[in-house]
């Protein structure tokens, strides 16, 4: 439970950055799980793809914490109630709000489905192979399986443990620049693997923008 240490609520309400960081680190996994679950429930049976979910998920998680950490929200927080369900409710509402803006509406039966979702889902509930279509998952799995040992360790630190570049560098005993470079290579490698699989054509934003001037 977060905010159960003596004085922690006072520090949270005062906006102490260490207290807020502690809350964030304790809750970000739960918030992203709830957000992903709600977004996927909304997408069930629809034509929306993992690409849109991937684009929306960080926005939703950010919006949740921006709302929860805003000075007025901190002052209003009822400390007699546990923080996690309060945050999960914000996550649910923000995710639905974002999805409605993508879809324009959420059918009422989906509202019912979302209500039934556990807001305290097990961590592994999202870490399955349903995060994208089967073809994309196969490409991702193949790419990850092909990584050398060093890349695998960086991937584990950044994407499994969810550490920042700085913390990953400390864990791995390397310079932060090394982690940054490896992260870029991981993305580039996956982008190439997806291109080879025919998932998209390889051109960057620069060339997209240049099309307009041609």
């Amino acid at each position: 439970m977060v905010l159960d240490e003596p004085g922690s609520v006072a520090l949270f309400r005062a906006g102490d950055e260490e207290a807020l960081t502690t809350v964030y680190r304790a809750c970000v996994d739960q918030v992203s799980r709830v957000a992903a679950l709600v977004l996927r429930a909304c997408a069930t049976g629809g034509a929306r793809t993992h690409r849109e979910l991937a684009a929306v998920l960080p926005d939703v998680v950010q919006e949740v914490f921006v709302k929860a950490f805003a000075p007025e929200a901190r002052r209003r927080f009822d400390a007699s109630r546990p923080f996690e369900p309060y945050l999960a409710q914000i996550a649910r509402n923000v995710a639905i709000d974002h999805w409605r803006q993508l879809q324009r509406y959420v059918p009422s039966d989906l509202d019912h489905l979302i209500d039934r979702l556990s807001l305290e889902a097990e961590p592994d509930a999202v870490a399955t192979d349903d995060f994208a279509d089967a073809e994309t998952v196969a490409v991702v799995n193949g790419y990850l399986a092909s990584l050398d040992e060093e890349s695998r360790r960086v991937h584990d630190a950044l994407y499994i443990k969810g550490l920042s570049q700085r913390d990953a560098a400390t864990l791995l005993g390397v310079d932060r620049q090394v982690v940054r470079t490896k992260e870029a290579k991981l993305r580039k490698g996956l982008r190439r693997a997806l291109a080879r699989a025919g998932s998209f054509t390889t051109f960057g934003l620069g060339s997209i923008l240049s099309k307009g001037s041609g």
């Binding site: 906006g15 807020l20 960081t21 964030y24 680190r25 970000v28 996994d29 992203s32 992903a36 993992h50 690409r51 991937a54 684009a55 998920l57 960080p58 998680v61 950010q62 914490f65 921006v66 709302k67 929860a68 950490f69 805003a70 000075p71 803006q101 993508l102 879809q103 324009r104 999202v126 870490a127 399955t128 995060f131 994208a132 994309t136 991702v140 991937h155 630190a157 950044l158 994407y159 969810g162 550490l163 570049q165 913390d167 992260e183 991981l186 993305r187 996956l190 982008r191 291109a195 998932s199 998209f200 054509t201 960057g204 934003l205 997209i208 923008l209 240049s210 099309k211 307009g212 001037s213």
Partner: protein, 204 residues
């Protein structure tokens, strides 16, 4: 199909979750949002200008920037001069702003400025009936480079099914700190680095 964004690659690499860098970025945004804002009371100046996206000459937009005066504000928010604020640039990649086809991408960029970066939020309001469409929410923008070159925002917006053909007013706000969507209306001039408002016509 367009190439995957860094957010999509991070989503795939973390198998449906958030990557470490994304988490870090979100934490920084949330901490920035948690800080108390300085009381307003600053005067406001509206500056009109015309800008264009240098690498995409297909669109020229009318820009409105909103800046506080230096001498009224506390030291932490002082503006060094009229050239400090960037101009927000919007471009329809597959057409013109007065005729942007459904399915097109809207690219955002910042032109010039000597700011320390911020967060860009953008949405479109239909001039007739309809719902607000969000393009960007607190998209992190790096500090201006020394050469004040164009800063292209890494995330473009897709004009999708949720935005039917019609006329829209597009709003873009560059804020010093992240702002919840429902708090945008109360964003103070002290927290606003630049604003853009223009007409966008979506065509079939």
């Amino acid at each position: 199909m367009s190439p995957p964004s860094d957010d999509e690659l991070d989503y795939l690499l973390s198998r449906g979750k958030l990557g470490g860098s994304q988490r870090d970025r979100i934490l920084n945004a949330a901490l920035a949002a948690s800080r108390e804002t300085v009381a307003a009371g600053w005067r406001r100046r509206i500056a009109w200008g015309v800008g264009s996206l240098a690498v995409a000459t297909c669109a020229v937009v009318l820009l409105v920037t909103l800046r506080p005066f230096a001498k009224d504000g506390p030291a932490g928010f002082q503006i060094k001069g009229p050239g400090d604020a960037p101009l927000i640039v919007l471009s329809c990649l597959d057409g013109q702003l007065d005729g942007c086809p459904s399915g097109s991408k809207l690219a955002f960029a910042l032109d010039g400025g000597r700011d320390e970066g911020g967060f860009l939020t953008s949405y479109a309001e239909p001039t007739g009936a309809g719902e607000r469409v969000w393009y960007l929410t607190n998209e992190s923008v790096d500090a201006a480079g020394g050469d004040a070159s164009l800063r292209v925002i890494r995330k473009a917006a897709l004009i999708g099914e949720e935005q039917p053909p019609g006329t829209y007013r597009v709003h873009a706000i560059l804020s010093r700190r992240p702002v919840a969507r429902d708090a945008l209306a109360t964003l103070t001039s002290a927290d606003t680095l630049a604003r853009l408002e223009l007409e966008l016509v979506v065509v079939p």
